[in-house]
């Protein structure tokens, strides 16, 4: 199972930060062409990211690029440079399924040209319209996970983000939209990079909300989030028993999995497998 507990944002215009990204063992690395790159550096950053994707050692991390949103003139040029080398395209401010279709079409064109496999998409829901359409967006075949951001959304509502109670609902809606389609749900970043305890609690909360990961802004946040997402010993032990019972049932050709006289149905087995994956147990 591919884990996406952490996705580290790395500004695409800063070679110094890009060169060591593979060392920190984030599950996903996002070379960012959007918010961290000023408009007058979009071209340079795009080219730098293109070469970084080819030559920098990403270790075991999944290679992502956050392109510019589709209401800018940059997104298609971003795709042209990065599609041959990227694994996941992170798309900001997605508002509809149709938008993703348009993006997917452009991706297909470039993939065909370069003879590469179809790339995945992780849309970021950042607007009220996007939120309303989240469940449709999650249905897109390229989408493997859903992420969200609260800045634009709270601005639309005219409330400060730090006090916005609605964000708890947004979180829940993202989890429901993603999970109902069998996709991953990814929580947003914890921006105080010095507050290790706060981050740990935030990540724990995200985990029990149903998220599969959170965004990180600094490499030092990675280990803390991974710890927060690690199941406790009892969870691991229970999960191990369930998976072993399932394997035994399969070997014995039984259609029903039973453990301690209880029937184990599919979602419970899937949860057990997920727990073991998060415990980094084969």
């Amino acid at each position: 199972m591919k884990l996406r507990r952490t996705r580290l944002y790395v500004p695409g215009n800063n070679p110094h930060l890009v060169e060591n990204v593979g060392l920190y063992e984030a599950d996903c690395l996002i070379l960012d062409l959007e918010d961290s790159v000023p408009i007058d550096q979009k071209f340079d950053a795009r080219i730098m990211v293109k070469y970084a994707l080819q030559h920098v050692d990403f270790g075991a991390s999944e290679k992502w690029v956050r392109i510019n949103s589709m209401d800018t003139p940059f997104w298609s040029k971003d795709l042209e440079e990065v599609i041959p080398y990227v694994q996941v395209v992170n798309v900001p401010k997605v508002e509809s399924y149709e938008e993703l279709d348009k993006l997917s079409e452009k991706m297909h064109e470039i993939e065909e040209k370069h003879g590469v496999e179809p790339r995945k998409i992780v849309p970021i829901i950042e607007t009220l319209r996007g939120l309303v359409n989240a469940r449709e967006i999650a249905k897109h075949e390229r989408v493997v996970a859903m992420a969200w951001g609260g800045e634009d959304l709270t601005a639309e509502l005219g409330i400060p983000k730090s006090k916005a109670l609605i964000l708890e609902h947004v979180r829940a809606e993202i989890v429901i939209a993603a999970k109902s389609q069998g996709k991953m749900a990814l929580d947003t970043v914890y921006s105080n990079i010095r507050d290790e305890e706060g981050l740990f609690e935030y990540a724990k909360r995200a985990k029990y909300m149903g998220f599969d990961g959170v965004g990180v802004l600094h490499p030092n946040q990675i280990e803390i989030v991974h710890k927060a997402f690690k199941p406790d010993d009892k969870e691991i032990e229970d999960a191990r028993k369930i998976v072993e019972a399932a394997e035994k049932a399969m070997q014995e050709g039984k259609g029903v999995i039973a453990l301690n006289g209880r029937m184990i149905d599919k979602p419970v087995l899937e949860r057990a497998k997920k727990i073991l994956a998060f415990a980094e147990v084969d």
Binding site: E19, Y24, N220
Partner: protein, 511 residues
Amino acid sequence: MAINAVGRDVPTEINGQRFKPFAGDMKTPPEGRRAGSLLRMVPEGRDKVVDSIEEVIKKVGLEDGMTVSFHHHLRNGDFVVNMVMETIRKMGIKDIRVFPTALFPVHAPLVDMLSDGTIRRIEGSMNGPLGEATSYGAMRETAVLRSHSGRVRAVESGEVHIDVAFIAAPTADRYGNLNGVDGPSACGPLAYGMVDAYHADHTVAITDNIVPYPAHPISIFQHQIDYVVPVDKIGDPAGIMSGTLRITTSPSRLKIAKYALEVIDRVALRDGFSFQAGAGGISLAVTKFLGDLMKKRGIKASFINGGVTKYVVDMLHEGMVDVVFDGQAFDLDAVKSLREDMNHIETPLAMYGNPYSSGGIVNMLDVGVLGATEVDIDFNVNVNTHSDGLLLHGIGGHQEVAAGSALTIVTVPLYRYRVPVIRERVTTVTTPGEVVDVVVTEHGIAVNPKRDDIIEAMHGSRVPVYDIQELQKKAERICGKPEEPKTTDDIIAAILWRDGTVIDVVYKVKK
């Protein structure tokens, strides 16, 4: 010139004095007896106070060509070296050999004294501007750099004879008992100055805190001090003591510290083990992480040799270590602990790592974690020069800790500012590869092939283990091949191994 055991072409004569080429650690046995200082008559009266530095210089009879020594416990906050040397200059005394344990950027005023004839050479560590000026040829004679213990050996063997030792003393009484734990310029131990007090012909304490007799505790005793000179201030506390040192937040440095911790855990961590602590960024992180791990496992160390910081003191006071040996204190927590805790022991530098002695603390160390400016594929380490050839750092205790520790770890980034740190050949050899066991970088570690036991212990670890050649190539792949420093054939400094043999030289850098 002769080729030494690390393949460097080194002189056999430096400043008119004969030196042997480096033959390997513990390969050159000592000769002769310990050197002594002048016998003196007990002074008349009960007061050794002299009112000014000029007056004391006249009393000790300092002349052209003599040798004066200083310790560096006041680090970059020191006022004593500059005030003494400025007085010597004003008095028109020339050709002085300055023999400090170390000099810092605050001692930049000495650069002018290299050219006006006051100083003929410096034999000691030169951190910053003096090293840089020397690299460009400012010093008339050849600088000589020794490790902490190498300096003790040089004094004890008579290789260097000190005419006058000027000892900065944060606290003194009028009869010459000194300590470093009290007073406005408190620095902790006076370990570096002890050998000078014992072996110099004349000894002068310079203090800004005279207390009633007897000053106590006593680090340097009255029978070794000839004169006491009160001055307004011997230093700036801000430069003497760091505030509480903070663990690095650099993710790559933290990665290095975590990899080093795993090596220690797999090779040396057990009840009763011992380690060398330091105040550098990575070293501090290793100390902190090691403390956390010991606490988790319920492991207690027998001793820590420092470089003492709050992190070490906390471990002592939490009962995680029996004894702290202190040759240098870096923060006020360390000073306070040295003053108050009898298990926090001030150690004379002669006890540290002198190879020509009956054994130093380093010989009892299980783990030493050290830094470097460069490391090469033979595990040789440079701590003195940068890749541009400039002499910018002293040796400190690097050589003896590396030679003495059962497990010597050198922690370095793979490259700095896109210049490889792991290279085919270091610019200057400070410490030979034969005493280095593991090199740890943020990309992974390399184990000296002679340490099969460590290679074995790292099996199954998540820390990537490479041949050192692979690390070197990795660095070159990222940064390109490093340029050679642009130097002339003129030797500006000699680097001595701790036994007094010549391990390398530093060449003049072209401007």
